[in-house]
């Protein structure tokens, strides 16, 4: 396993484009996080300090940081599709197999790298959230600090699931740009199907089925936190209540998709003539 990760990391790290993208995908969420946590003084007219809004309080901070950090996953998604696309365009996939890598090992080396990257991202966001929280939060008792730490797990699963989808699309169309196009197409298709179901079936059934769609299920892991922040400001408006928690079945659905994508990638490679 270590051998397969080393193999893939060498391929990625020596490629300038993917190196830059990896660095960006690690640094950008942090910059935003740190920028938002400092006082911004608008030329002496007024100061904006997001920390004052209470969004950096435990436990809600876990929800907020993981939600916003997840929006930057697109940078590493480019890396994932291009690491497949490059292997096809350079014909190095063929050479790897001839040199004695099995098709299974090839897919696993990509998948392990995805897991490795997601793990690093999760640990970093976890640490950053912890320290920013300690600095701003009004509550620092362990029971409150770690209350919603499951958002970290959701973040990790969400990244692994999303990048596995990118891996599969990369294997399917072989070209990075088309793979990203397909991703967008999938997003639109899901919306259209959801719309059709709402029109023809009942809302409940439409929502039920929609929660099993690949992109929607990943979104469900970490719901948007804006409404929740608003709720904390206006606790009397009970009609704003929604279910933002991380549920085990949401994680199970995404893990299911992950397994399906990795398996399909392997099947594709196995059947394909190179």
């Amino acid at each position: 396993m270590l051998r397969l990760i080393q193999l893939e990391l060498q391929k990625l790290w020596l490629n300038r484009a993917s190196k830059v993208l990896i660095i960006i995908s690690f640094i950008l969420p942090f910059t935003v996080l740190i920028l938002s946590s400092i006082k911004i003084n608008f030329f002496g007219f007024f100061t904006l300090e997001l920390g004052e809004l209470g969004i950096f309080n435990f436990p809600i901070i876990w929800h907020i940081t993981t939600f916003f950090a997840a929006q930057f996953k697109f940078f590493f998604a480019i890396v994932v599709v291009s690491m497949i696309g490059n292997e096809y365009s350079n014909k190095t996939l063929k050479q790897n197999l001839i040199d004695g890598l099995s098709k299974k090992e090839f897919i696993l080396s990509k998948f392990y790298t995805i897991v490795f990257f997601s793990l690093c991202a999760t640990i970093l966001i976890g640490l950053a959230t912890y320290f920013i929280g300690l600095y701003y939060s009004s509550y620092t008792e362990a029971s409150i600090v770690f209350r919603e730490v499951e958002f970290l797990l959701a973040y990790f699963v969400k990244l692994v699931g999303f990048f596995s989808l990118c891996l599969f699309l990369g294997m399917l169309v072989k070209r990075s740009a088309f793979a990203l196009g397909f991703l967008f197409l999938l997003f639109i298709t899901e919306s259209i199907i959801y719309g059709l179901m709402k029109w023809k079936l009942s809302d409940a059934i439409a929502d039920g089925i929609n929660n099993f769609m690949p992109l929607q299920s990943m979104w469900n892991l970490i719901n948007q936190p804006i409404q929740r922040i608003a709720m904390t400001k206006f606790p009397e408006k009970t009609d704003m209540m929604y279910d933002y928690a991380v549920h085990w079945y949401e994680i199970a659905i995404v893990l299911g998709w992950t397994a399906i994508f990795v398996f399909l990638s392997y099947r594709l490679l196995k059947k394909r003539e190179l």
Binding site: R3, Q6, L7, Q10, K11, L14, N15, R16, N86, N90, K91, T92, K94, Q95, N96, L97, I98, D99, G100, L101, S102, K103, E105, K270, K271, E273, L274
Partner: protein
């Protein structure tokens, strides 16, 4: 004889009734042959005869339709067997943004070979002083030499080369051939696919001839055609010579090309015996050469025969 063979010969690659279909096209048809240790094999055939497809199947990149093959004694998975094989197919494929050294490190990681082999093999192909340069800056000849260095990293038990001199300039071709000869001299088994007959003739002891995916011949190069050779003759008594040749029991066939007469033998006969015979018949030859078919002529004869 067969018992002796099975004791002494160590098989490296065994192919049984291998068939590959691309849709309606049958690229390889019921192909069987065995590669034994220590010999230099050639796979000969015109373009599109199924050479690369056959190699692609045994190298794990093309899926077979029917039949089977196994490496070594058959108790090893194909991808593990390939770690003991060195192969270069068609074009050299490396990561363009990595240097030669970094590319070879990657191959070492895949094959499970120590990094200290890298400099040694780069030296063999004469690329040691360019090892830190990026692959994309290399000329085609250098790329092909790097591919050979890469294939040699694991000191392979068999080296597979598919058209290794394709597209190279004469100097590049010469360098590659010299490297192949040196490797063959070390006792490494080689399997060389080519449509260039002189290439195969120069280095191979055994040959498999393919045409349209079917095997026409497999065996030693020098036994490929059961031939006793032929005479090339010239004389001023043209018609008389032809009539004598046509009635002679040792002569199978006579061909005329302007002044030159070619007489094919159906049993062995020395040039001096033939000359004596002609002299006794009163024919004075101005030109007499006894020759054997070159591989090229044998190959054309073999493929022609099958066509009819």
């Amino acid at each position: 004889m067969d018992i002796l063979k099975s004791i002494n010969l160590e098989p490296i690659l065994t192919i049984n009734n291998l068939t590959k279909k691309f849709g309606y096209l049958t690229a390889v048809k019921n192909l069987s042959f065995t590669i034994n240790k220590g010999n230099v094999y050639g796979i000969l055939g015109p373009n599109g005869s199924g050479k690369s497809t056959t190699l692609g199947i045994v190298l794990n990149v093309v899926n077979k339709t029917q039949g089977d093959f196994h490496w070594f004694d058959g108790n090893i998975t194909t991808h593990n067997a390939l770690k003991r094989v060195g192969a270069i197919i068609e074009r050299p494929n490396f990561y363009p943004y990595m240097s030669a050294e970094q590319n070879l490190k990657l191959v070492c990681r895949i094959k499970g070979v120590d990094y200290n082999k890298i400099d040694e093999k780069l030296d063999v192909v004469g690329l040691l002083d360019r090892k830190t340069h990026k692959f994309k800056t290399y000329s085609l000849g250098m790329k092909q030499r790097l591919a050979i260095a890469s294939a040699l990293l694991n000191d392979p038990e068999i080296l597979i080369l598919d058209e290794p001199t394709n597209g190279l300039d004469p100097q590049g071709i010469h360098q590659i051939r010299q490297i192949i000869k040196d490797i063959a001299a070390n006792g490494t088994t080689i399997l060389l696919a080519s449509h260039l007959l002189d290439e195969v003739e120069k280095v191979c002891s055994h040959v498999v001839v393919l045409r349209k995916g079917e095997k026409l011949y497999s065996g030693r190069v020098d036994e490929m055609i059961n031939s006793h050779g032929f005479f090339e003759l010239k004389t001023e008594q043209h018609q008389e010579l032809i009539s004598i040749l046509e009635s002679h029991p040792n002569i199978e066939k006579v061909k005329e090309e302007g002044e030159l007469i070619t007489a094919f033998l159906n049993q062995s006969m020395s040039a001096s015996a033939f000359n004596k015979l002609m002299f006794e018949k009163g024919i004075l030859l101005s030109h007499l050469v006894k020759r054997k078919e070159s591989l090229e002529e044998q190959f054309l004869q073999l493929t022609d025969h099958q066509e009819n």
